[in-house]
């Protein structure tokens, strides 16, 4: 992991100040890790293990494909025979018979093709669907750290593009390989039976071809890996820049971004064409070895012929089989290429599948029916990146039903407390306890479903308002959803919308005002009916009027529930039972509003700031400290 220092040089395209190269890079994406593993049989076996899930489909596909091949092989033979026997000897009836047999065969083939198309596609699509489902399922349960480390775009690429790029392999590749292998073995046996010396001679070039292609193979594999990396990078940028397009346009930053994109895009084109160049080389290589094989056969065969060791007929027959010998090899080569492409993707997929959750349920984890809501932080230390602690030896305890306010300067660690309480991350040191038990002894799901969080970064999903509120408790009735909306006074604005609760909102709720989005996510948290409610600046963008209405309503709703409130607005926090003042990851003061004001410490400073602003501007000279 890490960001790509080397390729940044290319990306900066046209920067002036070289001494500050990194500083000024327009965009930096953590590079997906390049995999340096060798081509590995286990990997292939793992890939193929997905086929085991559909034995029936494989058998059907094979039967249908084999039938088709038999017809394709039999038809020319029959036609040849018809010409010799019927046409040559002028037997019109025999000719008709042959035609009838051919028609029957082709009818058979017609159905075989139908089956083949259907079953090979069913097989391929089922495997792809399965892999994608498994991958998404796994990724969905990965811990936040995983998502912190990679841009959304690159996760998207793996679930979508990487899985898609294996489609060819599973739809046609595998079945073709099996049938081609059978054909090949058949032909080899026939040739060995006809004349083992000549047969071995024909095949003598095959190992050379393999040797020759090994080096090419390594290169092909590398270059497809590189293609996936570059694609992932380009998509990470695309996803990000589309989301940030409003900022880009607002700051008239288009020209620079287009230049950056042209760089990434061009780099992708370069590696893609490089990979193609190597892959395309494969076909001619097989052709050429085939030609060499023929040359060897005839060169030696003619010598043998002159020595009277082989007959003319045998040599002619060999010449014909030789063509049949190289066709499956060439096709196997194609599948091999497909496999190499698929390998580059499957490695990336397996890598995700092999990533373990960092926050995982322990074996003895319990899922309590209900919790009381007692919360305790016991000497909690936590660092997102080692060496930079965000919380340092934090201890506090909250009795059920209490409201705790977390205050402090930005970046003091308030949201971090909440992240730890929800077990988005595990503490580095110390313990977080709920109802006197370490939260690591609960299942993650049971813990989180008892805690209703309004995150600082609200997220609204595409869908109706109703569904958005219902997100936290899919089983809630419409009436419950409405009640939750009413509790946060979101109902007024919702009902004013054209379709009320059924109004569709777009990604991230871009058609709603910020405050409206916060109200929705507030309602969502309430609907979850949590024992512990966490409000991380949940009302920062909501006007005081509405906020006060909410507070009054909440007082009733929250009776008996524990609440954590992070806020900067005084009116939001002053009623808290306990106020914890954070500074640089430590609790520096605690108490309630009055006691903290009296203590004239950090909290007092924060509160005074509000009045100081009023005072300085209005010029009223009332000394506070005096």
């Amino acid at each position: 992991m890490g960001c790509v220092k080397s390729s940044q040089m290319n990306d900066r395209s046209g920067q002036t100040d070289n001494s500050n190269a990194d500083l000024r890079s327009p965009f930096i994406y953590r590079e997906d890790e390049a995999l340096e593993k060798k081509f590995d049989g286990r990997q292939v076996r793992r890939l193929m293990s997905y086929l085991r899930l559909h034995p029936r489909l494989i058998v059907f596909s094979l039967v249908a494909t084999t039938l088709g091949i038999l017809v394709t092989l039999a038809a020319p033979y029959l036609v040849g025979k018809a010409i010799n026997v019927a046409v040559g000897d002028k037997h019109p009836n025999t000719l008709l018979e042959y035609c009838a047999v051919l028609i029957v065969l082709y009818a058979l083939n017609f159905f075989a093709t139908r089956f083949r198309i259907y079953y090979t596609n069913l097989l391929g699509q089922s495997v792809i669907q399965h892999i994608r489902e498994q991958l998404f399922h796994h990724v969905q349960f990965l811990s936040l750290k995983f998502f912190d480390e990679r841009p959304a775009g690159s996760v998207l690429v793996r679930i979508m593009n990487d899985v898609n790029s294996m489609q060819d392999l599973f739809t046609n590749g595998v079945i073709n390989t099996i049938t081609n292998l059978f054909t090949l073995v058949g032909i080899i046996i026939i040739m060995l039976v006809l004349n083992w010396k000549l047969a071995i001679l024909c095949m003598i070039v095959v190992p050379f071809m393999f040797l020759l292609s090994t080096r090419l193979t390594i290169q092909i594999r590398r270059s497809w890996q590189l293609v996936r990396l570059r694609l992932s990078r380009m998509n990470a940028h695309l996803a990000e820049s589309i989301q940030g397009m409003r900022v880009t346009e607002a700051y008239a930053r288009q020209a620079e971004n287009e230049e950056f994109f042209r760089g990434v895009n061009g780099e992708y084109r370069r590696v893609f064409l490089g990979a193609q160049r190597r892959s395309i080389m494969f076909g001619p290589l097989v052709d050429l070895t085939g030609a060499i094989g023929s040359a060897v056969l005839f060169g030696y065969g003619v010598v043998e012929l002159r020595a009277g060791l082989v007959t003319v007929g045998l040599l002619v027959a060999f010449a014909n089989y030789l063509g049949n010998f190289w066709t499956p090899i060439a096709q196997l080569g194609q599948v091999y290429n497909q496999l190499l492409v698929a390998m580059a993707s499957s490695e990336r997929i397996f890598q995700y599948l092999d990533t373990a959750q960092t926050v995982a349920d322990s074996d003895q984890a319990i899922a309590p029916e209900t919790i009381e809501g007692r919360v305790e932080f016991r000497n909690v230390t936590f660092a997102y990146d080692s060496g930079r602690p965000a919380l340092d030896d934090v201890s506090f305890s909250v009795t059920p039903g209490q409201t705790v306010a977390l205050v402090g300067h930005t970046g003091a660690g308030k949201s971090t407390v909440i992240n730890l309480l929800s077990r988005f991350y595990d503490v580095t040191d110390g313990a977080v306890l709920v109802d006197g038990q370490d939260i690591r002894s609960f299942t993650v799901e049971s813990l989180r479903s008892r805690i209703g969080v309004v995150l600082q970064d609200t997220f609204i999903f595409t869908g109706s308002i109703l569904d958005n509120i219902r997100f936290s408790r899919p089983g809630a009735t419409d009436e419950e959803v409405r009640a939750a909306a009413r509790a946060v006074h979101a109902d007024t604005f919702i009902e004013a919308l054209p379709q009320g609760y059924h109004t569709e909102v777009r990604e991230r709720g871009s058609s709603l005002s910020m405050g409206q989005r916060q109200l929705l996510s507030f309602a969502r948290a309430l609907l979850a009916d949590p024992r512990i409610l966490v409000l991380d600046e949940a009302t920062a963008s909501i006007d005081t009027q509405t906020e006060e209405l909410i507070q009054r309503g909440l007082a009733r709703l929250l009776a008996g529930r524990t609440a954590f409130v992070v806020a900067h607005r005084l009116s939001t926090i002053r009623h808290a039972d306990q106020i914890l003042v954070f500074a640089q990851g430590k609790i520096v003061e605690r108490g309630n509003h009055d006691s903290l004001l009296a203590a004239r410490g950090v909290y007092r400073e924060l509160v005074d700031a509000q009045y100081r602003m009023m005072r300085e501007d209005s010029g009223v000279a009332v000394g506070l400290e005096s």
Partner: protein, 595 residues
């Protein structure tokens, strides 16, 4: 070629020569593939049967030579076509990216990131594949058929006509297949896009999903979409199953007909046996490529569905035209709204707004959630255009400003800070990439961000994750603020820009801004009275109308939203604080509410 593919002609026109040279190679490669059977024939007949052993080395050399030449042409054919595809894809991607960079905000209100991503990656690739080998395949097939039939005519006109008669059947099947496949491909592409959007949204909202432990439901939703995609793909497969066997059958029927009719002709001495055998070998030669027609068509239909989706982005209306008059010197910053009404999709959001802000003035906006504050300020940099009325900067309608200029004059700090994955430095310098280090440091200092940045181990080179990951809410806001300050704008818009910043920090920021951005017209939207109060005048919005305006003192002296909110914010603070009490008294309030 389908309409939608032709529509993208401008994007592949410049790379045509790769296609042409590729096709050129294709012809030679195909011609050379006839050389091998020909040489084999010679070897058997002349060397083995006729014992002309002296010719063998030459023939073998010719065979190797032909293989090398064929390999070279095949490589050229494949690679040049890939180059054609990749170059076009490169250009198209750039063009779409460019387009996206200029599409109006309203476009993004309606569009999913995931959908755009799906167009830019999956659809674009489907289209590229058609260029990179689909065309070659079709042309190759066409060549084989045309030359094959011409060759057949040279051998035997009657038999050739028999084959020719079959061609219309093929055409009918192909056309029916294509028409039926078209809507299915449209669905497949749409389902793929839905799947893609779902995953994209899920990954972006992963915190929310996890905080409510809703992973299983998201998985269910995903499986639904994945299943739909599967089903639509299988629908296509069912259609292939229905049509491909017929295409193959036509060729096979051709064999039987040639055998029957040819046999009859031989028996009636209308033609020779040798002629029939030779004729049949041509039929064999054509039959396999012809059975591939279905796949090739399939490729084209898929590409045309994809091309249509690309074209939709490329031809999206750029509602806000970029007029580029008024290259005046730096704006002074007088902003006026003349009877402005605005709305989204028929819903009025602002009605009859009249507002005059002198250059250098600070105006504060207050209003309930959803009252239209953000909508109002977003008209100034033309994120949206009003339905009626005019917004003027320096007395000139903003629609007459060059968009680029206008947006450099007006800096907006969005309500939701957005940071990009790059260094803190580059994030601040986003609107002014060539800013000096000193300039960036000054902007950071004014936004009160310098201190926390310098405390970071890597300072300004610290990498920020996607959407500002790794920073606290207030830190993000301050970086966004610094970014706007660096622009040195004549109009600065702070849309709730310090909501996540504590009051002490906010106080410092305000003082810094007051000192250093004196001449800059400033719009402040906030919910804290303490933030609003310093403005030259305050505008109160309700339901998209201006319901009150005046200075802090004026508004306090009259009943209304401003006074209500003031009382709420300073209510019980008045208990312990003399100054607050004095303010309180001056607003004539009582303390009869609250806990």
């Amino acid at each position: 070629m389908p309409e939608s593919i032709r529509k993208l002609y401008p994007y592949y026109k410049d790379h045509r020569s790769f296609l042409l040279w590729g096709l050129f190679c294709l012809i030679f490669a195909n011609a050379l593939s006839l050389a091998y059977p020909y040489l084999l024939d010679l070897i058997v007949n002349r060397v083995i049967v006729a014992h002309e052993y002296g010719e063998l080395p030459w023939l073998l050399a010719a065979m190797l030579g032909a293989a090398v030449a064929k390999g070279a042409f095949n490589f050229g054919q494949g690679y040049l076509a890939q180059k054609f595809g990749s170059n076009t894809a490169f250009g198209l991607r750039n063009a779409i990216y460019h387009k996206l960079n200029w599409l109006p905000f309203s476009y993004y209100d309606e569009t999913h990131t995931g959908d755009l991503m799906s167009r830019l990656t999956l659809d674009l690739d489907a289209f590229r594949m058609f260029l990179a080998f689909g065309i070659n395949n079709l042309v190759g097939l066409g060549l084989i058929v045309v030359f094959g039939i011409a060759y057949m005519y040279s051998m035997n006109a009657i038999l050739a006509t028999v084959i020719l008669i079959l061609m219309p059947f093929l055409a009918v099947i192909a056309i029916r297949f294509d028409t039926k496949l078209r809507p299915i491909y449209r669905t497949i592409r749409e389902n793929l896009s839905t799947l893609n959007s779902g995953v994209q949204e899920n990954v972006m909202g992963v915190r929310t999903v996890k905080s409510f432990a809703q992973e299983n439901r998201e998985i269910g939703k995903f499986n639904g979409n994945n299943g739909l995609y599967f089903t639509s793909n299988m629908e296509a497969a069912v259609l292939w199953k229905k049509f491909f066997p017929y295409i193959e059958l036509v060729g096979n029927v051709g064999v039987v007909l040639v055998l029957g009719v040819g046999g009859y002709l031989v028996m009636t001495h209308a033609t020779s046996l040798g002629n029939l055998v030779a004729f049949l070998s041509i039929v064999w030669f054509m039959i396999w490529p012809m059975s591939q027609l279905g796949y090739f068509l399939n490729n084209m239909t898929q590409a045309s569905a994809a091309a249509k989706r690309l074209d939709e982005v490329l031809s999206a209306p750029q509602a806000i035209a970029n007029t580029s008059q008024s290259e005046a010197p730096a704006a002074r910053g007088r902003v006026s709204f003349c009877n402005v009404s605005a709305g989204f999709g028929g819903r009025a959001v602002l009605t009859n707004i009249d507002l005059d802000v002198e250059a250098g003035q600070t105006v504060a906006l207050l209003g309930l959630t959803g009252s239209g504050k953000s909508s109002l300020v977003q008209l100034i940099p033309r994120f949206y255009d009003p339905l009626s009325g005019q917004v003027l900067l320096d007395g000139v309608d903003v629609r007459e400003w060059s968009l680029d200029r206008l947006r450099r004059e007006v800096a907006v700090v969005f309500q939701e800070p957005f940071l990009f994955s790059t260094t803190i430095f580059a994030n601040i310098a986003y609107g002014k990439p060539d800013a000096t280090v000193a300039e960036v440091e000054r902007a950071a200092a004014l936004a009160d961000a310098a201190e926390f940045i310098e405390r970071l181990p890597e300072g300004y080179s610290t990498l920020v994750g996607e959407r500002g990951l790794g920073l606290s809410g207030g830190q993000k806001q301050r970086l966004a603020l610094a970014r706007a300050i660096l622009m040195n704008p004549s109009v600065l818009i702070l849309d709730d820009a310090t909501s996540a910043v504590d009051m002490e920090t906010e106080f410092r920021i305000q003082r810094a801004l007051d000192e250093h951005l004196r001449g800059c017209t400033t719009f402040v939207i906030a919910h804290r009275i303490s933030t609003l109060k310093r403005a030259d005048f305050i505008v109160v919005l309700a339901d998209g109308r201006i319901v009150a305006r005046g200075s802090h003192d004026e508004l306090l002296s009259q009943p209304g939203l401003y006074r209500d909110i003031f009382r709420k914010q300073f209510a019980d603070a008045a208990q312990g604080d003399e100054f607050a009490r004095s303010l309180w008294a001056s607003s004539g309030g009582d303390r009869g509410w609250g806990a």
